[in-house]
């Protein structure tokens, strides 16, 4: 008696779980054997895509998916070696640039042509260099404006579209004491801070390099304007601003201590998670503000894609078919809010609003010059020194240029 009721309970619970989870479509191909090894980031969205690939692992086909938190290091090591242990890997914008620059990627143009119709491969998903396709992208991510709908409404402040409007709004919020720190962004020196500089600098129309060379060009009037804007923003941030990373800014919003901020689109849904957020339903999302009226949104677009190594052990067509399974319409539709999917019409919830508006406002791509990471390293330190008052803006920029020039010479990009 007791036993029966318990097993009924368990099977009932299992059924509920099955029904609650996203229903995954069946594998769309059969008759392939062998082993395919896949490498990807350990994010929920990759978990979901890995499940779609594993649905094909039957009748002699083995699919191993390794989800790692050290993707950049692992994929560059694996693909750079003589015989890559992985046949398929997910990469971000930065890693793709490095892999392409090192000649480690395999062209997959023929396979794309063969399966374009069957899997409805959309044009924006293709990553091409010259005439060859080197990757299939599936999602984009960018930073955009997060704002407290209730506070802006209460104090009659329109949603800011430029940084001067952000500063005006922050000033008003501070004067009336609406919130502890009107503005927040990840200003921790290093990659985060250099990335925030990049956002505003590109919107100002600034250039990092002379055309067609690695020669630095960021000691410019646009850079001085960018630094001035950043210093003004710091005035409305927490005094701890230079210690704050993305996670800390997310917490500040969830705790209700800030009203305006620049954050990653992937953090939007966390604002309405009642377990950790005091501001459920109160945070709105909009395009990243521009440096000035008419300028593009001050943010850059990142994308994630699957690529295959030049030196692979597994069967390339099987690996490609698994890629297709992970990125087909049914897979994306089964989890519309896990990512900002590249196929049109899937990610349309309110959390995608900031991304869509930023893209519509001409947000540029994240710079893909192989030497750009050296600029980020140099600026990450010097912009921090400027904001902390240890250097003037001119000093910081000339020091950053000097540091970049030195490291670019050591890497053979400059003579």
């Amino acid at each position: 008696m007791h036993r029966v009721s318990l097993s009924a309970l368990v099977s009932g619970a299992a059924l509920t779980l099955l029904m609650a989870g996203p229903a995954l479509a069946d594998c769309g191909f059969t008759g392939r054997t062998g082993t395919v090894n896949v490498l990807a980031n350990s994010f929920p969205v990759l978990d979901h895509m890995a499940a779609a690939m594993k649905a094909c692992a039957k009748d002699g086909l083995t699919v191993n998916v390794k989800l790692t938190s050290q993707l950049k290091e692992e994929v560059e090591q694996a693909f750079g070696s003589g015989a890559s242990p992985f046949d398929l890997a997910q990469v971000g914008t930065g890693s793709f640039t490095n892999l392409a620059a090192n000649g480690s990627l395999q062209p997959i143009t023929d396979l794309v042509l063969k399966y374009k119709a069957k899997y409805d491969i959309q044009y924006p998903m293709l990553i091409t260099i010259g005439k060859e396709v080197y990757g299939i992208a599936f999602q984009t991510n960018l930073q955009h404006l997060f704002y407290r709908k209730d506070l802006l409404e209460q104090h009659n402040i329109p949603v800011p579209k430029t940084y001067s409007e952000v500063l005006a709004a922050a000033k008003k919020l501070k004067e009336v004491g609406a919130v502890e720190n009107p503005f927040s962004a990840a200003y921790k020196p290093g990659w985060d801070l250099a990335n925030e500089f990049t956002n505003i600098y590109l919107s100002e129309g600034g250039k990092f390099f002379a055309d067609g060379s690695a020669e630095p060009k960021f000691q410019s009037p646009e850079a001085l304007k960018t630094l001035a804007t950043m210093k003004d923003l710091v005035g409305y941030m927490s005094p701890n601003a230079l210690g704050l990373a993305t996670g800390d800014v997310t917490t500040a919003f969830q705790q209700g201590t800030t009203a305006l901020g620049i954050l990653w689109a992937t953090r939007a849904a966390a604002m309405d998670d009642a377990k950790v957020s005091k501001v459920v339903g109160k945070v709105g999302f909009a395009a990243a503000p521009a440096a000035d009226i008419g300028a593009p949104a001050a943010t850059t677009q990142f994308w994630d894609a699957f690529v295959m190594p030049r030196s692979m052990k597994g069967d390339r067509e099987t690996a490609f078919l698994l890629l297709m399974e992970a990125t087909k319409l049914e897979t994306m539709k089964a989890a519309p809010d896990l990512a900002n999917w590249l196929r049109p019409g899937i990610s349309v919830s309110q959390y995608a609003k900031g991304v869509q508006e930023s893209v519509a406002a001409q947000a540029p791509s994240f710079p893909t010059e192989p030497y750009f990471s050296l600029v980020l390293a140099a600026l990450g330190q010097q912009v921090g020194d400027y904001l902390a008052g240890r250097k003037t803006a001119e000093q910081a920029l000339s020091e950053a240029t000097r540091a970049y020039t030195q490291s670019a010479k050591e890497k053979g990009y400059l003579k």
Binding site: L126, G243, Q301, G384, A388, Q406
Partner: protein, 351 residues
């Protein structure tokens, strides 16, 4: 002892030392003297991505006949070291005209000019990192010894049933993974975090612990003490178990106060352990890294180990990172010279 027996005993350790210490060290020295990069050529390419189309001239790797990218190796001599030490930056700090204040334009006195030179040098990555590393080492070393000893005396004095739980609790900070420990400390001291709010309600006002180099440095030192004091405690506590009880009792019979028996009986007995903890802690402190990474990312309070990490991770230059690592080793050796001399002298007197 026969030679064969001696070799039998010593050989395994010698092999281990060669494999694990000597070879990597030689490798690092080798790397630091060279520079290498992938050979590239500038070509015009059209690249199309989900976020737009780019047509521009950019570097492409030069491939050899087998399709592998060509690597260029250059002998650099001491250039990587000079680059880490930022000799250029130092020259400019000394060469700058400091006869007038750059902001106010008022003439400057000699002490002010020297201050300007020092300020500029301290802003250079290596020298800024070195100065905080030395400050961190100098402040934490005595405090680790003092607090470790006090806790050891306290635990030694409590009744037996309490000892186990107390030792366990005192050791916890030392057991926790440094990055996790540093993160928890950061989360205690951020805006509206537990300790910040507590201090505010006690009337200290709102303190922002990451607002500048001084407060961040304070937090890094606090973390260092929290993490390392347990090590000093457990070593000294073990030492306390070996203090001859009759000597302590004799001192009490002679009328010594509690402080006097600690100062003149217990402390001399533990002297070798104090040296040991100092030695280990100086080596550790000079390599401080995790709290720097977590609290400040080098903002104002940097360290030499963080500099090495930055060169490796940010600039992706393992040659320069090797040079920075070797300079760190040299620094540790210089700091340890007095202690090693002392140990050697004690050893000789003992013999």
């Amino acid at each position: 002892m026969r030679l064969k027996t001696l070799i039998g005993f010593v050989l395994p350790s010698v092999v281990a030392m060669i494999l694990l210490i000597a070879l990597p060290l030689v490798g690092v020295i080798g790397l630091s003297l060279w520079n290498s990069y992938t050979k590239t050529e500038m070509v015009r390419v059209e690249q199309s991505t989900p976020t737009g189309k780019i047509i521009r001239t950019q570097p492409r790797p030069v491939l050899d006949e087998t399709g592998k990218p060509v690597k260029v190796w250059e002998f650099y001599g001491l250039k990587n070291f000079l680059s880490v030490l930022d000799v250029d930056g130092m020259e400019r700090a000394f060469a700058a005209d400091r006869s007038t204040n750059p902001v106010t334009g008022a003439p400057q006195s000699w002490p002010e000019r020297m201050g300007g030179v020092w300020g500029d040098i301290a802003n250079l990555s290596f020298w800024g990192a070195l100065s905080f590393t030395l400050i961190y080492t100098a402040i934490t070393t005595p405090l680790v010894l003092i607090f470790g000893f006090l806790i050891a005396l306290g635990v030694h004095a409590v009744v037996k049933p309490l000892k186990g739980p107390l030792i366990f609790a005192s050791l916890l900070p030392f057991v926790i993974t440094p990055v996790v420990g540093a993160l928890s400390i950061k989360w205690l001291f951020l805006d509206n975090a537990v300790i910040t709010v507590m201090l505010q309600s006690l009337g200290f006002g709102k303190i922002y612990f990451l607002q500048n180099a001084f407060t961040t440095g304070f937090l890094v030192i606090l973390y260092g003490l929290w993490h390392v004091v347990p090590f000093a405690f457990i070593v000294l506590y073990a030492g306390l178990q070996t203090v001859p009880q009759d000597a302590v009792e004799a001192a009490v019979v002679d009328g010594a106060s509690r402080w006097q028996s600690v100062r003149y009986v217990i402390m001399p007995h533990l002297a070798p352990l104090f040296s040991f903890v100092t030695l280990i802690h100086i080596m550790d402190a000079y390599r401080v890294f995790e709290p720097i990474l977590v609290f400040s990312a080098g903002q104002g309070a940097s360290s030499l180990q963080y500099l090495t990490y930055y060169l490796l991770n940010g600039e992706q230059n393992f040659h320069k990172a090797s040079a920075a690592a070797l300079l760190t080793v040299v620094g540790i050796l210089l700091l340890l010279i007095p202690l090693i001399l002392r140990t050697w002298r004690t050893h000789r007197e003992g013999a």
